[in-house]
C-alpha cells in the first residue's frame, strides 16, 4: 500500500501531529514500508476460521468488585504534570 499526500494529511489530522514539509517524503516512504511489512499477514488463509479464533486458548480473567486505591498515586501524577491547579490537571481551554 502506498501512502500518498492525501492520506498523510488525513493521518496528520487524526493524530494531531504536524509533519514538516522537508520530512514528508521520508515519512511517506517509511509508513509505506511498515504497511508492506504487515501485508505479509494477508498471505495467511483465514477463510472459514470462526470470529473468536485466537492464538491463545484462554479468555479474559474477571476481577472481583473490591476497592483498592492508593490516594497518593493521583496526587503525585497531578504534581508531575506540566500544569495543575489544586488537584486538577490544567489544559488549554477546550470550548
Amino acid at each position: 500500500m502506498v501512502i500518498d499526500d492525501k492520506l498523510l494529511s488525513k493521518l496528520e489530522e487524526l493524530s494531531h501531529l504536524k509533519v514538516a514539509p522537508e520530512k514528508r517524503e521520508e515519512i511517506k516512504e517509511e509508513l509505506s514500508n511498515i504497511l508492506n511489512f504487515v501485508e505479509n499477514l494477508n498471505q495467511l488463509d483465514t477463510d472459514g476460521l470462526p470470529d473468536k479464533f485466537s492464538m491463545r486458548d484462554t479468555y479474559s480473567h474477571l476481577r472481583d468488585d473490591n476497592i483498592e486505591v492508593d490516594k497518593n498515586i493521583g496526587k503525585s501524577v497531578v504534581e508531575n504534570s506540566p500544569k495543575y491547579q489544586d488537584s486538577s490537571f490544567v489544559v488549554p481551554r477546550i470550548v
Binding site: 493521583g74 496526587k75 486538577s88 470550548v95
Partner: protein, 471 residues
C-alpha cells in the same frame, strides 16, 4: 403531506459497581479531584486493564430483563479520539461483539427493539474556566452500559414512555442509580422523518446533551419541526444532513456542531490488552437471576390485591414507590386506603414541593399508621388530610399528631348526643321551623354539631342520631 417520525435512542447507564470497569478504583464521586485514580485509569504506560466481574454480571442481568440474547463470547475494542478527559487517547468499548443483543421492551403494548447493549468505560470530566480547562479523572473508567434501541419509536411521547420504562427496569434490577441530573442516565436521540407510508429511513440527526425527560421531549419536537419545515420549503437535502446537534434548553433549539465532528474517524480495532470474554453455563445461570420487573409487579398488584390497571401501573412505575406501597400493606394498612393515601394524598403533597418519594418526610410506616387510623375510624378522612399536612412539616408520630391537633374522631353515641342536645336547645326556633316542614335545615344542624365537635365527630353517626332525634 403527512409525515411519520422515526426515533432511535441511545442511553448510557452508569453501572453502580463499587469499582471501575478495568481497575479497582472506587466509582464514588464528589471526592477530591483525581484522588480515585491509578496507573490504569490514568493511562500510564504499561498499566493493563482487568475486567470487573460485577459489570459483566449487571450487563447480563439487563439483557435478561429486556428479553435479549447474551453473547457467550464478547470482545472489547478501541475507539480512538483525542480529548483531555480521555488520557489514553482511546475509549475501550464493545464495537464488534457486544455482550447483549436483540432484545425488546414493551411500551404501551408495542414492542420496542433493543438492538444491543454494550459495556464501555466512561471518560473523566472537564471543568471549563475562563481561559483554561481543568481535568478530573475520578470518573474515568467508570462502567457504562450503552443501550441502543431500534428506530421503532414514532413520537416524542413514545420516546419518553420508552425511556421511563427503561429507567424503571434499570432501577428495579438495581444496576444503576439512573439519576439524570447527576449524569448516571444519559440519553442521545436519533431523529428522522419520512412521508407516511414510506418504509425507507431518511437522514437521521443525532441530538446530544439532553439531561431530563422534559428536555428530551422538547429537543425531539423541535428537531421534527425543523426537518418537516425544511421538507416543505424544498430545502430538505441542504438543511437536513447526517450530523450531531446539541440541544440548548435555554433557547429551546438544536444547533449544529458542524465542523467539530468532521474529523470523527474512530478507527475501531480489537483491544490488544484484553482477551475475549467468555460466559460459561454456570455463570450465565447465576448472573441471569433478576428480581420481579415492573410489568410483573403491576400484574401481581391487580390479581393479588385487586388494584385497578391504572393504579397498579402508577404504583409499579418506580421501585421506590412500589416498595413504599408494599411496606404499607405488609404492616397491615388496607389496600384501598393505601392506594388513595399514597398516590393521591402523599404524592400530591410531594409533587407540590418537588420532592421525589425517596425524600418523603413521611415514611411508609408513618403513612401506614395514618391509614390504619382511618381504617379503624380513629380519625375521619378529613382529619387525615390535616394530620398529613402537619406531618409534612413536623417529625412526630401519627398518634402524637392526632393528640396534638385534637382530631380523634368521636364515635361514642352519648358524646355525640350531648352535642346534638346543645345545638338543638340553642336553636329551638329553627327546630320549630324544621318540624313545620323546612327540612332543608337538616344540613344546618349537621354543620352545627360538626362545628361543636371541632370536626372530630363521625359525620355518619351525627347524621343518624340527628335524624332519629328530630323525627
Amino acid at each position: 403531506m403527512e409525515f411519520e417520525v422515526v426515533i432511535g435512542l441511545e442511553v448510557h447507564v452508569q453501572l453502580n459497581t463499587k469499582t471501575k470497569l478495568f481497575c479497582s478504583c472506587p466509582t464514588s464521586f464528589n471526592e477530591k479531584e483525581n484522588s480515585n485514580t491509578c496507573p490504569t485509569c490514568l493511562a500510564l504506560p504499561g498499566a493493563l486493564p482487568v475486567i470487573n466481574r460485577e459489570a459483566i454480571h449487571k450487563a447480563i442481568q439487563f439483557g435478561t430483563a429486556v428479553n435479549a440474547s447474551i453473547n457467550r463470547y464478547s470482545k472489547f475494542d478501541r475507539k480512538n479520539y483525542f480529548y483531555p478527559d480521555l488520557p489514553s487517547g482511546y475509549q475501550i468499548s464493545q464495537f464488534y461483539k457486544p455482550i447483549v443483543e436483540n432484545g425488546y421492551i414493551e411500551v404501551n403494548g408495542r414492542k420496542i427493539g433493543i438492538v444491543r447493549a454494550h459495556l464501555e468505560a466512561d471518560a473523566g470530566k472537564n471543568i471549563h474556566e475562563s481561559n483554561y480547562s481543568k481535568v478530573d479523572l475520578n470518573r474515568a473508567g467508570t462502567p457504562l452500559l450503552e443501550i441502543v434501541s431500534a428506530p421503532d419509536l414514532r413520537s416524542s411521547d413514545e420516546a419518553i414512555e420508552y425511556l421511563k420504562k427503561l429507567h424503571s427496569i434499570v432501577r428495579y434490577i438495581d444496576i444503576s442509580d439512573a439519576n439524570m441530573q447527576e449524569g448516571s442516565f444519559r440519553c442521545d436521540a436519533n431523529v428522522s422523518i419520512r412521508p407516511k407510508g414510506d418504509t425507507k429511513l431518511y437522514t437521521r440527526v443525532e441530538i446530544k446533551n439532553i439531561n431530563s425527560f422534559r428536555f428530551i421531549q422538547r429537543a425531539i419536537d423541535y428537531e421534527v419541526e425543523r426537518q418537516i419545515e425544511a421538507w416543505e420549503d424544498g430545502v430538505y437535502e441542504d438543511e437536513v444532513i447526517q450530523e450531531t446537534r446539541l440541544y440548548d434548553s435555554v433557547k429551546n433549539e438544536t444547533r449544529s456542531m458542524r465542523g467539530k465532528e468532521e474529523s470523527a474517524d474512530y478507527r475501531y480495532f480489537p483491544e490488544p490488552d484484553l482477551l475475549e470474554v467468555y460466559i460459561d453455563d454456570e455463570t450465565l445461570e447465576t448472573y441471569s437471576k433478576i428480581p420481579e420487573l415492573p410489568d410483573e409487579k403491576a400484574e401481581r398488584f391487580q390479581t393479588e390485591l385487586g388494584l385497578s390497571e391504572y393504579d397498579a401501573k402508577v404504583i409499579s412505575s418506580s421501585i421506590e414507590l412500589a416498595n413504599f406501597f408494599e411496606e404499607m400493606i405488609n404492616s397491615g394498612a388496607s389496600v384501598k386506603n393505601s392506594v388513595t393515601w399514597l398516590t393521591v394524598e402523599l404524592l400530591g403533597r410531594l409533587n407540590k414541593n418537588n420532592l421525589p418519594i425517596t425524600s418523603s418526610p413521611i415514611s411508609s410506616s408513618k403513612l401506614s399508621d395514618l391509614v390504619k387510623a382511618i381504617d379503624n375510624k380513629t380519625i375521619s378522612g378529613k382529619a387525615g388530610k390535616d394530620i398529613l399536612d402537619y406531618l409534612m412539616e413536623h417529625d412526630i408520630s401519627v398518634d402524637e399528631a392526632i393528640e396534638k391537633l385534637g382530631l380523634k374522631q368521636v364515635n361514642d353515641d352519648s358524646a355525640i348526643l350531648k352535642l346534638i342536645d346543645e345545638v338543638l336547645s340553642k336553636n329551638s326556633d329553627k327546630v320549630e321551623e324544621y318540624k313545620q316542614g323546612k327540612t332543608k335545615l337538616f344540613g344546618f344542624f349537621v354543620g352545627q354539631v360538626m362545628k361543636a365537635s371541632r370536626g372530630s365527630a363521625n359525620p355518619q353517626k351525627v347524621n343518624e342520631l340527628l335524624r332519629s332525634k328530630l323525627s
